[in-house]
Symmetry: C2
Subunit: 364 residues, 2 copies
């Protein structure tokens, strides 16, 4: 079992616990965290995760520890991150008699985590929240307290900062994850390397085969290293007043591609976005051309897409990026590469440069 | 112009500014608060407040100071405090191009304040928020950062703590408020007296005529004294871990009556709730019978209701109170009177005593 720590102020610090078979121990862990047995709690999951048998394990473990768990299952996929569905979950929580001392547990990937976190953040003005990530990508989404649902036209516009009490990462859950979703998760780990840890970046490329085959010791190392970077950045700037925005490397274009195309996983869209951001960095003279080549090479090695689909309209992409959460006053804001392992936030990137990149990086 | 201060930690302290003609000065005040002119801002109001001409003043003042204001008008009344309508306002904010440096301004009573505050708390995970209260009751709701929308069956279940940058209270706006709404606002001021300031309690009863006639110097004194108490309690316990719950005096039964009857103003329902809570306090041996008599006398003097409507089912009232946000584990939690000016939070009040009070305090 590995423990990483997210060192936040104001009683909001917490641990990320990574290991095999942890879902069977959730009940006991809730006890250690001081979660009350007198209140009812809510486990939110999606239908795939339920079908894979993880929900049963959590419920059984909670029951053994004396906890009453209500269950709310959402349809798998990004479209569940909606305000109407969150409203239904909130009404369900109330009907079940959840109170201020109840906890909401998110059992699933980033979609479940973001959704359940929004429910936890807003139910009775905020109740305890526990992350039980089951996808590889969720090593990123489960850490840091960003929770949100989407507007149909833009991701994560409605949300909050609401830190979990704990992140319990049972690595055995990854065994049922599809290769495509494994790759999607690797994409965010590559991002963590690209922004802060050059060694990690190349280590991932080098070990991609073992990682995608879910080699358990490689996977533990990946999760620990990647979560550590995420935890550090979050601890430096919990509510994204500044440096935390570097975690959005690849996300300016990534979010636009993800929403407008609707056919990419989050990690795939971010991969396209990272390669484009690296290209933009070169064009703006911020980084050597070889570095961008290495970014693209890593994505290709991991089986991630790197080109912008032709059917996405350039003007729509630009408009979507101008309304990105990082931007203010309608400017184009990007996280740009100085070298692999070091990035910089640039507001007011010239639109012409962005258009050049979009044209240059089409599927062709 | 009177200034009260809400002394919160973590950069969340702010002022309550009370005076005549302040809506004409909103633009300049936003400048002093550091609100950016490069971003667009959103004024949320209701149709009554708009019709009374206050929206125009705010927009003109903002325009004169170089601010672009978008406007979102909600239907008047409690039913606007809903998640679907908040979703529409959030989508509107995004369509208008609001960004992370935008501010949401709440121009109206407590409904607008709670609703707009929820929009501000969740838009892009939280943007700046300014309260421009126009009802008397909003001297309470605009201070303290509690924001929320309702579930159909229960008030304020979906919300957040999101403090404003400033509360700008233009007392001239009260001139168009109906007598019934004035009384509703007086009810929360009586509450502030009852929980922390015996002098204020009797001062209100003594000056009720002038207050309800909107005598301007009496009104300024009322607002300043009542806001000061609210500000103090909030500063002691921003997120209601303990003492802040005393502000809910009268609200356990009050919320149940308000939701189940649907015909009372918030202040009226709370008046009924305060009288019932005082009665309960006497029955539980916490307070002298004369004190409860004085609570009822003050309500009557101010033209507020004191009896529970016959058509409300006892079992439904109890069930609604058991699910109150203050309660945990389905117990009945009340703020009870020790004497006027001093209260105490009591968890686990026996149901039989509550039922006795309900039976004793029926319209008859
Ligand atoms: N909050 C943050 O900081 C943050 C960071 C990164 C991404 N995100 C968000 O995370 C989301 C993407 O997360 P994701 O990729 O985990 O998506 P996801 O939750 O949709 O999971 C991907 C798919 O894998 C399935 N799945 C999950 N775990 C499984 C398992 N163990 N076995 C079998 N199937 C499983 C899911 O049902 C789903 O179909 C996006 O909405 C993104 O915006 C949030
Ligand atoms: N957040 C908090 O801490 C807190 C505290 C107390 C009450 N509240 C909430 O506040 C709400 C009640 O507030 P309220 O009583 O102000 O209700 P309200 O906002 O509905 O206003 C009452 C009525 O007066 C009208 N009005 C407002 N200002 C006016 C003006 N200047 N001239 C003419 N008409 C005007 C409104 O359109 C409405 O019809 C409830 O939802 C309650 O739950 C919140
Ligand atoms: Zn991401
Ligand atoms: Zn109230």
């Amino acid at each position: 079992m590995i423990r990483e720590h997210v060192g936040l102020e104001g009683g909001r610090a917490y641990d990320i616990v990574i290991g095999e078979g942890l879902l069977e121990q959730v009940g006991g862990m809730l006890g250690e965290l001081g979660v009350s047995e007198a209140s009812r709690h809510l486990v939110i999951t999606d239908a795939n995760v339920q079908a894979a048998g993880y929900l049963e394990k959590v419920i059984a473990s909670m029951a053994a520890a004396g906890y009453v768990a209500e269950v709310y299952v959402i349809p798998p996929g990004e479209s569940s991150k909606s305000l109407p569905l969150a409203g239904e979950a909130l009404a369900f929580a109330y009907q079940c008699g959840l109170d201020r001392r109840s906890a909401v547990l998110a059992l699933g990937g980033g979609v479940v985590g973001d959704f359940a976190g929004f429910v936890a953040a807003t139910y009775m003005r905020g109740v305890a929240f526990v992350q039980l990530p089951t996808s590889l990508l969720a090593h990123d989404s489960a850490v840091g307290g960003k929770v949100a649902v989407n507007l149909p036209q833009a991701k994560n516009i409605i949300g909050a900062f609401h830190q979990p009490l704990c992140v319990v990462y049972d690595t055995t859950a990854l065994q049922t994850l599809s290769l495509r979703e494994m790759r999607s998760g690797v994409s965010e780990a590559i991002k963590h390397g690209a922004i802060r840890d050059r060694d990690l970046f190349f280590w991932i490329e080098q070990h991609q085969e073992g990682l995608l085959a879910n080699d358990s010791s490689l996977m533990s190392e990946l999760l620990a290293r990647s979560c550590r970077i995420k935890a550090q950045v979050v601890a430096e700037d919990e509510t994204e007043q500044g440096v935390r925005a570097i975690l959005n490397f690849g996300h300016t274009l990534g979010h636009a591609v993800e929403v407008l195309a609707g056919t990419y996983t989050h990690g795939e869209a971010v991969a396209i976005g990272m390669v484009a951001a690296a290209d933009l960095s070169v064009r703006l003279g911020l980084c050597a051309a070889e570095e961008a080549v290495l970014v693209e090479r890593a994505m290709v090695a991991c089986g991630l897409p790197t080109l912008i689909p032709n059917e996405l309209d350039e003007a729509e992409l630009i408009e979507s990026m101008r309304k990105d959460k990082k931007a203010a006053g309608g400017t184009l804001t990007f996280v740009l590469l100085r070298e692999i392992g070091r990035v910089e936030i640039v507001e007011d990137v010239p639109e012409s440069a962005v258009r050049d990149v979009i044209r240059a990086r089409r599927e062709g």
